[in-house]
Amino acid sequence: MIYFDNVTKEYRDGTPALSDVTLGISPKEFVSIVGHSGAGKTTLIKMLLAQEKPSQGAVFFEEVDIHTLPSSSLHHYRRKIGTVFQDFRLIPNKTAYENIAFAMEAAGRADDEIASDVPYILDLVDLGDKADHFPSQLSGGEQQRVAIGRAIINQPDLIVADEPTGNLDPVNTYEIIEILKKINELGTTVIITTHNKGVVDAMGKRVITMEKGKVVRDDKNGHYIL
């Protein structure tokens, strides 16, 4: 489904963020990417979201080299991916409901579909009673649940979560991971990056360990080892 082919990324000043990364991810996998800060986890995610271009190599999503897509049609590709970030990245002047609805509106879905799907997803992430709250009125865990709701509303093939629990306490971390696990069990591929040893070890799924821009371990039923 996803294939990184000898991807190298050097920033303009010459510092390498990724060097020669080759890895494949199959449909319905749950993959954790672990490593110290600056190991290249976020750069890897940015490559996948076509936020940055590789200096060498290519990234394929279902046979398409995503970095050959023109900027004007990138949004079609991105609708196949739901994204969750450490800093939530909700739209501040939209309510929880509107933040989730925005992804559907932008994809051109019909009004009646939106009216029926958004409340369902809000219930799924346990925010049915906070639909009209703005992000500033929600706790970190709640904001992240809105972000997950927004990521899954269009039934994407892939969920990418960059440090989704980085700003959350243990209880909220547990809840977020449970939701992601459930989404994966329903058949969506999930890729997360994390620092959290507890999260990785409890999962018992594939773990890719990165160090200095290189993949140093790739375990099927991995643990957090650094």
């Binding site: 979201l49 949004h75 990245r89 002047n93 932008a106 994809a107 009004d111």
Partner: protein, 304 residues
């Protein structure tokens, strides 16, 4: 693009304009002040052109005829002048009328009147007062008269040659004022456009992260951009309406109090008479600048 998407873009723009209260308020405030400058420029150029027209109107050339010139001869000259394209008005003053005017002018001056009585006959010749459409055209009018030799016998003098320097100076002063006015208007219009651009860029700068998120969530460039353009247009429209409303009492006050000082020009009457033009200029510049500025301001943050 279908109707649903259009509705969402417009609705989204209106909603985000309402919700980003303080930023929208600041934008409208700056745009209002800027559009007021544009409005004052309209007023200023109206006052300027009214004043210049009034001055131009005071300039004329008088042709004095010898006392022996017969009335039909003079009227012939008048008719010839009237056919010239440069000439606006020709006024004929007969010998009798000239005398009557002279008497009236010197009604308090017994000595002059006595001298006139002693003369026994009317010493004044008839005259033609010529007004050109443009003060620069007097020379060619006068040349037309001097070219005709038959005129030389009946024309005593033409005061253009005495007034030439004054007329020339006035003409060039009027031209200079007009072009200086045009330059000032152009400069201020440019400054206004720049201020509006900068303000909107600042307003959209606060939303740059939002734009990046929208891109990542899979919104097309068009879908992200349109609400900002709509919000810019709303800001422009609102500012223009506020400006028009505020100008009503201002124009009334200036019209009431400064009309005499402006040589009879009433700003309030001008405002009401030219309302459609002022409305279109202000609303047009508000809407176009707001929309175009938003369009360009968003572009910068779409490169995600």
């Amino acid at each position: 693009m279908n109707f649903t998407m259009l509705k969402r873009m417009i609705g989204g723009g209106a909603k985000s304009f309402m919700r980003s209260g303080s930023v929208s308020f600041a934008t409208v405030l700056v745009m209002t002040v800027t559009l007021m400058i544009v409005g004052f420029l309209i007023f200023l150029s109206a006052i300027l052109s009214y004043t210049l027209a009034a001055i131009e109107d005071k300039v004329d050339v008088n042709i004095y005829f010898v006392t022996t010139a017969s009335e039909p001869e003079i009227l012939l000259v008048r008719d010839q002048l009237a056919t010239l394209p440069e000439v606006a008005v020709v006024t004929y003053t007969s010998r009798d009328k000239a005398l009557a005017e002279f008497r009236e002018r010197h009604a308090d001056d017994q000595l002059t009147l006595q001298a006139l009585e002693e003369l026994g006959e009317n010493p004044l010749g008839a005259s033609l007062a010529v007004k050109a459409k443009d003060p620069g055209q007097y020379e060619s009018i006068v040349r037309f008269l001097s070219d005709d030799i038959s005129n030389e016998v009946i024309i005593d003098r033409i005061n253009y040659f005495q007034n030439k320097t004054v007329i020339d100076r006035l003409t060039s002063a009027i031209r200079a004022t007009e072009s200086a006015g045009a330059v000032i208007v152009a400069l201020f219009a440019l400054a206004s456009a720049t201020i509006i651009f900068a303000t909107i860029r600042l307003a959209i700068y606060t939303a740059r992260d939002e734009i990046a998120v929208m891109r990542l969530v899979g919104a097309s460039n068009m879908y992200i951009r349109a609400p900002f353009v709509v919000a810019g247009i709303i800001a422009g429209l609102l500012s223009a309406v506020i400006t028009l409303v505020v100008f009503y009492p201002i124009a009334w006050y200036i019209g009431e109090s400064a009309s005499g000082w402006l040589g009879g020009f009433n700003l309030f009457t001008y405002y009401l008479d030219h309302f459609p033009m002022i409305f279109l200029t202000l609303v047009g510049s508000g809407v176009v600048l707001g929309g175009v500025a938003s369009w360009f301001a968003v572009r910068k943050y779409l490169k995600v």
